[in-house]
């Protein structure tokens, strides 16, 4: 097993992430902790996207919407004085699921290019709705004064919060890994491989895709909840369509249809952004063409590049 470079990479990464807070507390470098908390949260979002994109072949360009939905539920409840996590979090997940159900029911009736455009359009629509919410900050966003209260668990403690996010990320990765090998997972993967064949053997493809879409949206809503708590802030920018683009990049860069690909992609992309923006403020001029090159030459992502060659 150690001969597989992919396993080695993942193991090294997990050890690094597990021990990071220890280093941070010793070196007093809070910045790294904040950066990697963000990375972990977005990796969770990317993992949820991988479910529909990497395994299901559904190119959703509006996935960041659920980051916003999850975040705004927490933000709105906080503003109205409800700070307990036990109420906020399940409600956020429920609302995310509901939005995913509606958007999915409408979008999944189409495929290919239409689907991409429609998910993008709905994301834009919700973005504008958020912008118009004067009471909740509109364009400027909404500050959250208290993080979600969970009794003994103090989310304001950066280290505690970091480990919570990490635990949730690993939990979600594990859940998704089990899901894609279940009967449901095979139904989804079969539909990606050959939709026509699936119908011919008797699968009602639409309903399985819809359920998958809802699951992915809900998990992304969880990431939104974490993001809101992390930044103590929600704004429409969380669900701008470029955020959705970032998530797709993470999934593809890491390696679609692999369990840890999204995490790897998130780490690489966000660390790269940090590094590049240190060099020039016009770093996207480098990232843009780099993305094109990856699409053209390294389509399997990092995990794909590390795949052991068969004899």
């Amino acid at each position: 097993m150690m001969r597989d470079p992919r396993t080695a990479l993942v193991a090294a990464l997990l050890i690094f992430l597990g021990l990071l807070p220890v280093y941070v507390m010793a070196a007093g470098n809070n910045f790294l902790l904040i950066l990697f908390t963000r990375i972990i949260i977005l990796a969770l979002a990317a993992t949820s996207l991988n479910l529909i994109l990497g395994y299901g072949g559904m190119v959703s360009f509006g996935h960041a919407v659920y980051l916003g939905v999850g975040g705004y539920v927490v933000g709105i409840l906080a503003k109205e004085g409800i700070n307990t996590g036990i109420i906020q979090w399940p409600l956020a997940l429920l609302v995310s699921a509901l939005f995913a159900l509606i958007i999915g029911a409408l979008s999944l009736r189409t495929r290919g290019v239409y689907f991409i455009m429609i998910t993008l359009a709905f994301a834009q629509m919700l973005y504008y709705v958020a912008v118009s919410l004067d009471r909740y900050g509109a364009d400027d966003g909404l500050t959250i004064n208290h993080r979600s209260q969970f009794g003994l668990l103090n989310l304001s403690n950066k280290v505690v919060f970091y480990y919570l996010c990490l635990a949730l990320l690993l939990g979600v990765i594990f859940l998704v890994a089990r899901l894609v090998n279940s009967r449901f997972g095979f139904a989804i993967r079969g539909a990606q491989s050959n939709e026509r064949r699936m119908r011919a053997i008797g699968f009602p493809v639409f309903r399985y895709r819809l359920v998958c879409f809802v699951i992915a949206g809900t998990l992304c809503g969880l990431a939104g909840v974490l993001l809101a708590n992390h930044t103590d802030f929600v704004s429409p920018a969380m669900m701008h369509w470029t955020r959705s683009g970032d998530l797709i990049v993470m999934v593809v860069l890491g390696g679609m249809g692999s369990a840890f690909g999204p995490l790897i992609g998130a780490v690489v992309l966000l660390v790269l952004e940090e590094a590049l923006s240190g060099i020039t403020e016009y770093w996207q001029i480098i990232l843009g063409p780099l993305l094109l090159l990856i699409v053209l030459f390294a389509r399997g992502g990092i995990v794909g590049m590390l795949r052991p060659r068969h004899a």
Binding site: R178, L179, R183, G190, N194, R197, A200, I201, G202, P204
Partner: protein
């Protein structure tokens, strides 16, 4: 006389100005192997599309097992027991042969809203899949990746998947296309065996196979059935000969 298992009545399909299926009426009796032959462009693919539900029809009805399935979507027809194989093979290329057939089994094993247990470790999916693969002669290739299998093996796999859905009737769309002499002979033997348990509607160009297997033959030309009956009668039918020889088809109607 009991109602035919498949009763096609007045089925018509137009694409713009072109009539691809012209008032097709065709009964397929339970237990028979009914072959459909005809020159290229006759509308065989369109007919299959209408029967499976991939294409809508302007008029006409399709009754299967006594029930009107004309408006049913593709997947429901499969669940009713109407299985098909594809002329241009349509498989899950990135999966193994066993995975492919197991998916077909899974489709007919209740709903698939099971999210936890590994589907590859479930005997009630894997065992029937193995059996279907054995049946078509692919038993030893169960763990081969479909993308690495030969064309002939793909065709066998198509049949295995159809069988795995425990159908009442098979719709086979040119199962022997592109096969060599030996492979065709094996396929004919397989169909001969299957004939004993299943009703089969066979679209084929290979005349040797057709005349070896068919209980009845219907001839489709320009979307219309111009003749239908026992093989000997079809062979002697002047309209049929004209349709083939007039089209300069390199087909042997050897007597």
């Amino acid at each position: 006389m009991p109602e035919p298992l498949l009763q096609i009545e007045g089925l018509t399909k137009r694409f713009g100005g072109i009539v691809a299926s012209d008032n097709v009426t065709l009964p397929v009796v339970q237990g028979e192997l009914h072959a459909i032959i005809g020159p290229n462009g006759a509308g065989k693919t369109t007919l299959i599309g209408q029967l499976t539900g991939e294409l809508s029809s302007q008029s006409g009805t399709i009754r299967f097992g006594g029930q009107d399935i004309t408006a049913l979507p593709v997947w429901q027809r499969s669940l009713r027991g109407l299985a098909r194989s594809f002329q241009i093979t349509s498989l899950f290329l990135d999966f193994t042969a066993l995975d492919n057939v197991a998916l077909a089994v899974q489709a007919h094993a209740g709903h698939s809203f099971h999210f936890w247990r590994d589907a590859r470790q479930q005997p009630d999916l894997r065992d029937p899949a193995h059996a279907a693969l054995e049946r078509v002669g692919l038993g030893r290739r169960a763990d081969a990746l479909v993308a690495n299998m030969s064309h002939g093996e793909h065709r066998q796999l198509e049949i295995a998947m159809a069988l795995a859905t425990k159908p009442r009737m098979l719709l086979l769309d040119e199962p022997m296309a592109g096969m060599g002499v030996e492979e065709s002979a094996r396929m004919v033997e397989l169909l001969r065996e299957l004939k004993r348990e299943l009703t089969i509607l066979l679209i084929e160009h290979d005349m040797d196979a057709v005349f070896a297997l068919a209980d009845r033959i219907s001839v489709l030309v320009y979307g219309r059935i111009i003749a239908s009956g026992e093989p000997a009668a079809i062979r002697a039918n002047p309209d049929v000969r004209r349709a083939y020889l007039g089209e300069q088809q390199a087909v042997t109607l050897n007597g």
